[in-house]
């Protein structure tokens, strides 16, 4: 069992969730309540990272973020290290290919909040910030939870983009998905099965617990 790869994957998942959470909430709300021309196109654009094969997306990201790209060079000047083949690069890739899962469920969840409830919140004098965390987030919670869980699971499992952008460097960019893939490629079915089982089990427990706790939190919100 490659624990460091598992740890890396979990870290990557957590960071991805952590960053996509505010981003998804912001974009989800925007898309839920604003009507603007071309909204459908924006929504469609946000789905596109799913359309390209991951390795190909990874290839293009490698080009876009690599040493020779403006982004890569700017990053290197700023932080003194290269963006691709590093955890940061992995994270950026992970954010991009998880966008579709994060935004859509959150957008739907915000759309489902009755207008009157938001109006009542404004009439109660709640600040936009308070409305967000006290009214909107709890009400949109199931959708947000879905988004987070999908993001979590998908980040654990994704390897095409990660392999291309990260380069499978042990301890730094070699995720558990790549490790399992390698074992399968090496016909080491036993090790692959063990790793898969551990990964599935951990995911199952983590996701079950978050759904379980999630609905409980949601239900018992009010006793805060």
């Amino acid at each position: 069992m490659d624990w460091s790869a598992l740890q890396l994957s979990l870290e990557l998942s957590l960071w991805t969730m952590l960053i996509l959470l505010p981003l998804g909430i912001w974009l989800g709300r925007l898309l839920a309540w604003r009507a603007f021309p071309g909204k459908s196109v924006v929504e469609a654009l946000l789905t596109l990272p799913l359309v390209l094969p991951p390795t190909v997306l990874g290839f293009y990201l490698l080009m876009a973020l690599g040493n020779r790209s403006p982004i890569g060079q700017a990053y290197e000047t700023l932080f003194g290290q290269q963006l691709t083949f590093s955890f940061s690069g992995l994270l950026i890739a992970s954010l991009i290919f998880n966008l579709p899962f994060a935004i859509q469920p959150m957008q739907r969840a915000f759309e489902a909040i009755p207008q009157e409830v938001r109006e009542a919140a404004r009439c109660c004098g709640l600040s936009p910030w308070r409305i967000l965390h006290r009214i909107e987030l709890p009400l949109a919670w199931p959708g947000i939870l879905s988004a987070l869980v999908l993001t979590f699971a998908h980040t654990l499992g994704e390897f095409g983009v990660v392999l291309m952008v990260g380069g499978s460097i042990p301890g730094e960019t070699r995720t558990i998905a790549i490790a399992i893939y390698d074992r399968v490629q090496a016909f080491d079915n036993h090790a692959a099965a063990v790793m898969s089982a551990v990964l599935l089990l951990i995911s199952l427990v983590a996701i079950s617990l978050s759904y379980f706790a999630g609905t409980r939190i949601h239900r018992e919100q009010s006793h805060a």
Partner: protein, 363 residues
Amino acid sequence: MPDGLHLRLTQESPIPLNAEIACAPGEVLALVGPSGSGKSTLLRSIAGLYSPRYGQITCAGETWFDSTAGINMATAQRRVGMVFQSFALFPHLNALDNVAEAMLDLPLKERYKRARSWLQRVHLGGMETRLPRQLSGGQQQRVAVARALARQPRALLLDEPFSAVDRATREALYQELAELREELKMPVVLVTHDLDEATLLADRMSILNHGQTLQTDTPDRVLRAPASAEVARLMGMRNLFSGRVIQHEATHTLIQWNEWRLRVRLHPRFQPGDTIQWVMPTSGVLLMPTRPHEDEMLDNPIDVQIESMLALGENYRITLSAGDDRLTMQVPRYLAQRFSLLVGQGLPVRLRGETIHLLPAES
């Protein structure tokens, strides 16, 4: 700039509006009008939840909305307390939290102490931890009322706040409202369909129809002297008829109605010969046999026939056929029994000319 709440809004569509209301601090203004006349829309405009095309809204000297100046203050800044017609409770917060949420400017402990006491005041002690979906309709409405009142708002906007509450509880809430109004000295705009409620609670009453304010006056005066046949009809005044002015005397005006000449209170603004409409509350029709009084010189005895009798609480609503028109009177049950009133029988009644109000004929 004047104190209190002032509003003047106009637009053509989608919801036609042509309204003007004013409500002084500590005053209760009842907004009365048929379903769909725009009452909720007016309240929503005041709260900043709806922005009509043209107009101004000011409160306590502050401009909340001005279409020409492009001012539209955010709802949260307007500091209104609002009871929504559909309650609009926060579905995930219990009753206590729903109320506490409106008092964020207070420290936490104080907030919950007050929220608890507000729930007591609306007779919901013991329901603190219930979620809205675990409350009955009337209980939800009372949480909404508590939430609106708790805010110590600068203007209180109540959209049929007692519609789902039973009589006894409602009376208790009237009491709370009356006290609060003394305490806080804020303008209160109350939408209601219940004229008793309006007369009981409101200092003045605004009649709205198709988005237009038709008359604003004390409830008493609106009921006694509606500004138009439309208002009379909206007030549910059944005794609205056509007639003609015959002449003005020193103390009264004489009008012709079907075969009768009626003495009514003096209305010098109409010319003899004018076709008019006249209106009278059901309490203006009395059974004949009472001793004459000095104030009864305007009483007009006429003979009519009972067409139908409808039990209505402790009274009968009696429809009388009078010539081509139908006159309605309200008689307490015991009197109806005493006089053995029966459908079809002839009945001498008096029309109290003092309560008769003349209106221009509708075009």
